[in-house]
């Protein structure tokens, strides 16, 4: 693996590229940061941003189909397409679509060349509201319909947690203070209660809501600068648990699992207590704010800093799109679920455009402004992905908008607009007389692609309980979707998504 050297000089050079007139990490970087050169093995990084609801019409969400210039027959009966993303510039604004737009100074040709926009990735059953689906725990849905309700007991770890505890992903934990930084909204990240042994219950990994807490987690105080006078006590604490676990007093199996789980957490604590991330330098904690937009911005700063200096290589952000437009009322009911009405649709477009520009694009731009090797930015070494809860119809996860930045360290071919939909009568999802639109490939395949791009092989996740034979996630395909699928859609779900691999 290559060694990356970050220096103060390089950081400052990177900061010069940050747009929106914002200084780079204004609350985090002190004057003396990055004063020394340090080395670490970054490996590919993964940053997922998840937003609620969806509900944006495809005509506003996706670029114009005229960009599609190439097609191929993936399976008999399924022709897919791709094209190069091309921005249009009007004054100081640039856009790929109504939602995917921003300042022309930020959404540059260079950055567009590092994007992918994926059309036609479905959760192929009626999942309705969920938070777990973004990263692969489809069981964490709200049970709005019989499909979703039927799988609520079939929890699975999410891909961020698989990566976090995968020996293939973290081949070295040097400098890694937090395996996966989960911030913003809850319900997104799920893992084993005993993650290193991949055993126990699947439980939620709670998100850190505020930037100061996230900062403390990822930039712990670290060991004292002077030589410690006493040995750390964690080993001995673990011994107390082990003694109880292995003693002859009466325990249930669940008690023993509890003790195992706790010991596993203590072992990770021990690792964290002895981890030094010199690359992060003498960073300064951000302040606390109750303003949700400012809070998201500060969380983004912490994420950016942590990814940049290798304190973590995985971050998940939950972002509420409803905060980005002035609206007083019940966003969920009055806007998201009235998506087909003009007024609410305009608000959904406005909100999601704002999230794209002010959060997702901003993060990408920041990461692209930091050169960590000649000609290579942090963004280049990262896979950023933005997914929404639903497609254009809330409750319906057909064609979940999926937008990415970065090549994940060279894994992905970028600058593409890809259409996986089966644009035939057979590919049309119906419910009785109602027509919902074209189905495409499985979202499970996107998750499997993410895992493989991050170096986590199929052998590490294909046999996980509740996973299917292919792809990642409960392999439920309901009747309304299955009739739209040609042979190969399900069987090929463990393959890297077509057109994407460099």
């Amino acid at each position: 693996m290559k060694k990356v050297v970050i220096s103060r000089r390089q950081f400052l050079r990177g900061s010069g590229g940050v747009a929106l007139g914002l200084p780079f990490l204004p609350s985090l970087v002190p004057g003396k940061a990055w004063a020394q050169e340090v080395s670490f093995d970054p490996g590919p990084r993964f940053l997922m941003m998840c937003t609620g609801h969806g509900g944006v019409l495809e005509s506003s969400m996706f670029p114009d189909e005229s960009m599609m210039g190439e097609s191929m027959t993936l399976y008999p009966g399924l022709d897919i397409r791709r094209g190069d993303l091309m921005r249009t510039v009007n004054g100081d604004r640039a856009q790929l679509s109504t939602v995917l737009s921003g300042s022309a100074d930020v959404l540059t040709d260079q950055l567009v060349g590092k994007m992918n926009v994926l059309w036609g990735l479905d959760i192929p059953f009626y999942i309705a509201h969920h938070t777990g689906g973004h990263l692969g725990n489809f069981a964490r849905n709200d049970g709005n319909g019989p499909d979703g309700r039927g799988i609520q007991q079939q929890h699975m770890p999410t891909i961020d947690q698989l990566m976090a505890w995968s020996p293939s992903f973290y081949t070295s934990l040097t400098g890694v203070t937090e395996r996966a930084l989960i911030v913003g909204g809850n319900g997104l990240s799920w893992g084993y209660s005993n993650p290193s042994a991949a055993s126990g219950n699947i439980q939620e990994v709670a998100a850190l809501r505020d930037a100061p807490n996230a900062f403390d987690r990822v930039f712990p105080a670290g060991p004292p600068t002077s030589e410690p006078t006493r040995p750390p006590i964690v080993d001995r604490v673990i011994e107390g648990y082990r003694s109880l676990r292995q003693g002859n007093r009466r325990l249930s199996g669940a008690d023993r699992q509890r003790l195992d789980d706790h010991m596993d957490r203590l072992a990770e604590l021990q690792r964290r207590l002895t981890t030094v991330n010199a690359a992060c330098g003498d960073v300064t904690a951000p302040g606390f704010t109750q303003d949700p937009i400012e809070r998201t911005r500060l969380l983004g700063e912490v994420v950016t800093a942590a990814l940049t200096c290798g304190a973590t290589r995985i971050a998940v952000m939950g972002v509420g799109e409803d905060q980005y437009v002035p609206f007083a009322g019940d966003w969920h009911q009055q806007v998201a679920h009235q998506w087909q009405l003009d007024g609410p649709q305009a608000q959904l477009v406005e909100a999601n455009q704002a999230v794209f520009e002010r959060v997702f694009l901003d993060l990408a731009s920041r990461l692209d402004g930091i050169e960590e090797a000649p000609g290579q930015t942090v963004l280049d070494g990262t896979l950023m992905a933005w997914t929404q809860e639903s497609g254009e119809m809330t409750h319906e996860a057909r064609s979940i908008p999926t937008v990415t930045f970065g090549s994940g360290g060279g894994f992905f071919r970028t600058g593409q607009f890809v259409d996986y939909r089966n644009r035939t009568d057979r590919g049309t999802r119906r419910n009785g007389q109602r027509v919902f639109g074209y189905t495409g490939l499985l979202y499970n395949q996107f998750l499997a692609t993410c895992l493989q791009s991050m170096g986590v092989p199929q052998s590490e996740w294909q046999s996980i309980a509740n996973n299917g034979a292919t792809g990642y996630g409960v392999p439920l395909v309901n009747d309304q979707y299955s009739v739209t699928h040609v042979s190969g859609v399900v069987d090929g779900a463990s393959d890297v998504l077509p057109f994407l691999q460099a």
Binding site: G240, L251, R265, H332, Q333, N431
Partner: protein, 631 residues
């Protein structure tokens, strides 16, 4: 308009608890949990649909085909598997730490000072979430959140290290371990450390320390010769990370006699003391309870009952019960009421009662005060709570909404005119929506699920995909009927029969909880364009076969109170809170029936709250291992 469709019920509410049970099955489809909105906190998607899953496993209820039989089946031989140590909730952890420090230092003021110094560490601990599961997708009791993640383990560790440093400052160490720890006399150092481990350690572990454990904790001190505050600090930190401190570790003692299921054991005296103190106080045993455990007297029935009575009468129990009420009624789901201030529609609607930032909490407090007053001052039964005319507004803003004087918190509370606003469910906390519109669907869903423990099937796919156009001259009820009760629609099956009627009964109160006789119709610009007539009559079908007409809230509350379903439902909820888990269909029928009968047969809330600790099951623990668990 804040509405969404519900449907797919086909009229089949689970009125027969046998095999399905009130609220037994996964009951939420409303998405109220964990949606990503706003500041990242869960959104209220509660209107999405009311659906609950139908029968899952048999509820332990005795129905046998009679939909009006609300009892539970008691089978003492039914086995319970998969029980594990319960971890302390965050409330329990904080209470325990403070009580431990007060006991150890012999100075409550010093204990508080240490807790204050630990505040930032304590604040970083992961909060207990209202545990969401298939049984209660809205979120159940914080006590059910038993997850232990990295944040917990690390948070506890950091608290322990900081606490240990604070406790071993010279003056405090003398208070904690005696003068022998700081007197500079070498001869007494070993004995001093042993005595400290025995005394302080016993309270930390909540049982006496044996010789092996004494040696183990001496190991934290290390091999330092002489007095070493840092050594004491490591001993303290080690103890505060012990499984016996962070979890309620139980090993049991004797086999349970009779027809109890296998692998069920009576708790030891110290285990029982902890179970009692954490149940009632959310904290560790006090000296009196400790002595009863140490002497073994606690295992005597008469002494045990006396201790139960003593703990129950202690003011600390009230705080615990208040937390139960808060979670049971999902009061945290009440939205902030001032977010729409500044918008013309809301300003016109609210008029002189424009909410301030504290009104939400005042409404929540009023509901809790009402329950407190009924439970502790009046020793009421559930019917009284459901039908009382008394109100408890402590703020001028809430009193204005009620058009009543402010309650001073001590005297006789003011009262509404008879039957004008009967019972808990017509209080503002259950009516306010934060917008200008009432939410009859949500009100109906709440009552159906949380008060009656009925389940509602999920709505059909995309039930909300094509809402009809609405006009500006319909009342909220008319809009809801238009949306959800169209003849032949898939929605009508549930909404027309089982959801909407429960919510329509309180349409005589607006979205701030004010009484009204007609509904103001507003444009988006806040202009009043008319007044709509209100209709609070409905057929609420407390039981599926009950066609009794309700004319309004008084009738509805009476029907609920007379049904017996609310008592059975409350018993189920209090079980969850008490045992920190969802009920097992077979194994928990005896406890559930005990709780139900305690409050259903002329009993009071207090009778039920006490009854749980007097059940045999409260004093037992199953160690049966489920097949998939660790060997």
């Amino acid at each position: 308009m804040a509405l969404l469709l519900l449907g797919g019920c086909g009229g089949a509410i689970d009125g027969n608890p046998n095999g399905a049970g009130p609220g037994q099955g996964p009951d939420g489809n409303d998405g109220s949990e964990s949606a990503i909105v706003g500041d990242g906190t869960p959104s209220d998607r509660s209107d999405d649909a009311a659906g609950g899953q139908g029968p899952t496993d048999g509820s332990g209820l005795d129905g046998q085909g009679n939909p009006r039989d609300v009892g539970f089946i008691c089978d003492p031989s039914a086995a319970l598997e998969g029980q594990s140590f319960r971890r302390l909730t965050q409330r329990q952890y904080r209470n325990t730490l403070e009580d431990l420090l007060a006991q150890g230092l012999g100075d409550a003021g010093q204990a508080r000072a240490v807790m204050d110094a630990l505040q930032s560490r304590l604040a970083a601990l992961p909060p207990d979430e209202r545990f969401r599961s298939a049984e209660d997708l809205h979120g159940s009791y914080r006590r059910l959140d038993q997850a232990v993640g990295q944040g917990h383990t690390e948070g506890w560790y950091r608290v322990s290290v900081d606490a240990a440093v604070l406790l071993t400052e010279p003056a405090r160490l003398t208070q904690l371990a005696g003068t022998c720890a700081t007197d500079g006399v070498a001869d007494n150092d070993d004995a001093c450390l042993d005595a400290f481990i025995d005394d302080f350690g016993a309270r930390v572990l909540r049982r006496p320390v044996d010789a092996e454990e004494r040696a183990f904790y001496r190991g934290f001190y290390g091999t330092t010769v002489g007095e070493d505050p840092a050594g004491y600090a490591d001993v303290i930190a080690g103890m505060l990370n012990a499984p016996q401190f962070l979890y309620m570790v139980e090993h049991g003692q004797d086999d349970v006699a009779g027809d109890a299921p296998p692998e069920t054991f009576e708790l030891s005296a110290f285990e029982l003391a902890s179970r009692l103190s954490y149940h009632f106080w959310d904290s560790m045993p006090d000296d009196t309870l400790w002595e009863a455990a140490a002497s073994g007297a606690l295992l005597d029935d008469a002494e045990y009952e006396a201790q139960v009575e003593r703990l129950f009468a202690d003011p600390r129990t009230r705080a615990t019960v208040r937390e139960f009420h808060r979670d049971w009624l999902k009061l945290e789901d009440l939205v902030e009421l001032d977010t729409n201030v500044g918008f013309p529609v809301f300003e016109t609607f609210a008029g002189d009662d424009l909410p301030g930032p504290d009104l939400r909490e005042q409404m929540i407090d009023e509901a809790l005060d009402m329950l407190d007053h009924h439970v502790w001052e009046q020793s009421s039964d559930l019917t009284s709570v459901l039908t009382s005319d008394q109100a408890y507004p402590r703020s001028a803003a809430l009193a204005a909404i009620y058009e009543l004087p402010v309650w001073d918190g001590a005297g006789e509370p003011p009262a509404f005119a008879a039957d004008a606003r009967p019972g808990l469910l017509s209080r503002a906390a259950f009516l306010a929506t934060g917008s200008a519109s009432t939410r009859p669907i949500m009100k109906g869903v709440f009552i159906r699920r949380n008060i009656l423990c009925d389940t509602i099937p999920p709505p059909p796919d995309n039930a909300a995909a094509n809402p009809p156009d609405l006009s500006e001259d319909l009342s909220t009820r008319e809009v809801v009927e238009e949306l959800t009760e169209q003849d032949g629609s898939v929605c009508a099956g549930c909404h027309a029969t089982n959801i909407n009627p429960l919510g329509f009964a309180t349409e005589g109160f607006d979205a701030l909880g004010r009484a009204r006789t007609e509904q103001m119709l507003l444009t988006e610009e806040g202009a009043v364009v008319g007044m709509a007539q209100l209709d609070t009559s409905s057929v609420p079908r407390i039981f599926p076969d009950d066609e009794t007409v309700s004319e309004g809230p008084a009738d509805l509350m009476g029907l609920i109170a007379d049904s017996g379903k609310a008592e059975a439902c409350l018993a189920r909820h209090y079980f969850r809170f008490s045992f920190g888990r969802f009920e097992d269909a077979g194994a928990d029928g005896c406890v559930l029936e005990t709780l139900r009968t305690a409050i259903a047969q002329g009993g009071s809330f207090q009778d039920m709250l006490l009854a749980v600790a007097l059940t045999p099951e409260f004093r037992q623990r199953s160690f049966a291992t489920a097949s998939q668990e660790a060997p």
